[in-house]
Symmetry: C2
Subunit: 371 residues, 2 copies
């Protein structure tokens, strides 16, 4: 295979982007990335260790193997022009091996920083942005000290491999710190002050290799049991706060040398007559709170990500109206037939066979056009 | 494999439509059908005799074999719950064999009638609808007689296997009839009077198994070299004419016992201060003039087709604005990078490697929101 210079328009071939995109991870995000790539004539090869990966169903080429299987990773790299990923908790050894064979985008810097809650918080505060008060916790003694510094209520989180509320425990007035420390497996952790937010919001943005940033409109999010329940656009915050959110996203994208789509989760705090924003978390990938763009915007987050990592021009997103995206978690997906018949509702099912509790099975987007 | 009753909501399984859809034909229509099915969690198996089929790239399961290969057709049928098709010129033997194993939708009646221009014209006039004057031609003597009856100018078309202007020859004032007869290979044919149309238009509509019809807005079409060049919505005809077109489509859908998406191509004739419609052709499948629905409507023709054939509720289509869809034919696709950068343009590339003259390589849809 000849490695092509993806930034050279002429080298990409005359009739299409002529790129094969490797995707690490086979969940619904990988599936929707592959579907978006297909619109642009781009073939994908999906790599996942889960034989039931929903993304396998929508591509001609997939590999089902461990992320530690160097021979399979090498074959995968050989078959693609570049690699991206749909989840941030990929073993770093897999990423660094692949980086020795092919471009891996978004780059290693974004992954290294965001895989570790402590380095992420330090990175964000280093940019002059506001986060919750935090302190590193590597022992029970650290935890005692951290609770003194940060105060209660607070949340103890493992530094690595947490998602959807996993690896977290709340420290409230009567919490036993020893118990909390054991609850997260005595793993390297971070204590974060609880932020008394009025709302939660997120910005999903694409950043091109040339530094161009195209953000989608600020999205207001409601979580249930630590899992995203609904995303509403426009978010119910004043225009200056929305602009502030976009500035924060641009700053973070630049700081990470990011190429692709990422999300910044924000807390919106009431501050007198106005609001202020606190950075909660960065997701170095397409994000659940951007699913509304599939039906509610002129371009989806998935297509923007494919464009960005393949060195193609970013599209200019325009929202089609007022949008509410609702996740279908576990058995909620059993309403699919009624949702399919609901006027104005766009349904997405991820093709997962088993509706385990807490599992994201699909989503529905309701749009009021022109809003 | 247990054959499921697709009309029984409970039998389809609780978490998704739980159907595997077989698609005959692997071109861009099959590709876009498979992508639409994937949104609904429906897996597809594509069958085509062309190893370079663009639809193979977006499915996990495909079969590359001749349409006459009964063993492969049987294996294909065994792996799916029902079969649909993306082109009407499938060998009837393949369809009748598959019908003995699985439901094939739209049904055999639609295919039998529309595969033959003569039976199609007789069917349409039998419904009381207007077509161009026509006469069957099975010999040179027939042709001479037909030209007397129909007049010049007229078009001589083979009854079967024509598309994009193939198998057609114009009969003008000085045409030699013997030459024309040889030009179409002396195949069973039909002579159609030339219709002095003002515009060409089409209705794309979905019909469910329960007889529900949901039509997309009337589309105005411009052809170049017998190939669709642009589709514009709304069409530039008065509202009563648009309503008339929808009535014609509903009548044809009912007459064919159609289940799925079909298109009716129409000629719009100036008739004094108003216009009248002449039925040109029926396409018993998703249609190029419906591609605008992918980006310009709340539901695409491809999703509506999947819904209809799988016994799912049809969506209620709503147009998002004024839309122009332009095909990218042959080397026109080489503009893809500029089109990708154009604000308000949605680009689709079909992943074909070679831009032969006259080949549909992709399309671009330009939308003025809220129009």
């Amino acid at each position: 295979m000849i490695k092509r210079d993806l930034t050279d328009p002429d080298a990409a071939g005359p009739v299409s982007p002529a790129v094969t995109l490797g995707i690490l991870g086979g969940g619904q995000l990988g599936r929707m990335l592959a579907l978006a790539a297909a619109r642009l004539g781009i073939a994908c090869h999906v790599y996942s260790d889960d034989p039931d990966s929903p993304a396998f169903e929508v591509v001609r080429r997939f590999t089902c193997a461990a992320y530690t299987d160097v021979a399979e990773l090498a074959r995968f790299a050989e078959s693609v022009d570049l690699v991206t990923y749909e989840f941030e908790n990929i073993p770093p050894t897999a990423v660094s091996f692949l980086e020795s064979c092919r471009p891996v985008l978004p780059g290693g810097k974004a992954l290294t920083i965001t895989q570790d809650r402590l380095s992420e918080k330090r990175f964000v505060t280093g940019l002059g942005l506001v986060t919750a008060a935090f302190a590193p916790v590597d022992s029970l003694a650290d935890l005692v000290e951290a609770v003194h510094a940060v105060g209660r209520p607070a949340i103890l989180k493992t530094r690595r491999f947490g998602y959807d509320g996993k690896g977290q425990v709340a420290i409230v007035e009567d919490s036993d710190l020893g118990e909390a420390w054991r609850a997260i497996g005595e793993a390297p952790a971070i204590l974060e002050a609880f932020v008394p937010f009025e709302r939660e919001a997120s910005v999903v943005a694409a950043r091109g290799a040339d530094g161009t940033v195209r953000a989608f409109d600020l999205t207001e999010n409601v979580h249930r049991n630590h899992i995203l329940h609904t995303s509403t656009v426009p978010a119910g915050v004043p225009e200056p706060v929305q602009q502030d959110a976009l500035r924060i996203a641009a700053k973070i994208g630049e700081g990470l040398d990011f190429v692709g789509v990422f999300a910044v989760e924000l807390f919106v705090l009431r501050a007198g007559a106005t609001s202020r924003l606190v950075v909660n978390e960065i997701a170095p990938r397409v994000h659940n709170s951007g699913h509304w763009t599939l039906d509610g915007c002129t371009v989806s987050q998935f297509e923007q990500h494919v464009r960005a990592v393949c060195g193609l021009p970013l599209a200019m997103p325009r929202r089609l109206g007022n949008v509410v995206m609702t996740n279908l978690i576990g058995t909620e997906v059993e309403q699919w037939r009624e949702l399919m018949a609901e006027p104005g509702a766009a349904l997405h099912l991820y093709g997962k066979r088993c509706a385990r509790a807490g599992r994201k099975m699909g989503h529905v987007t309701r749009i009021s056009l022109g809003g």
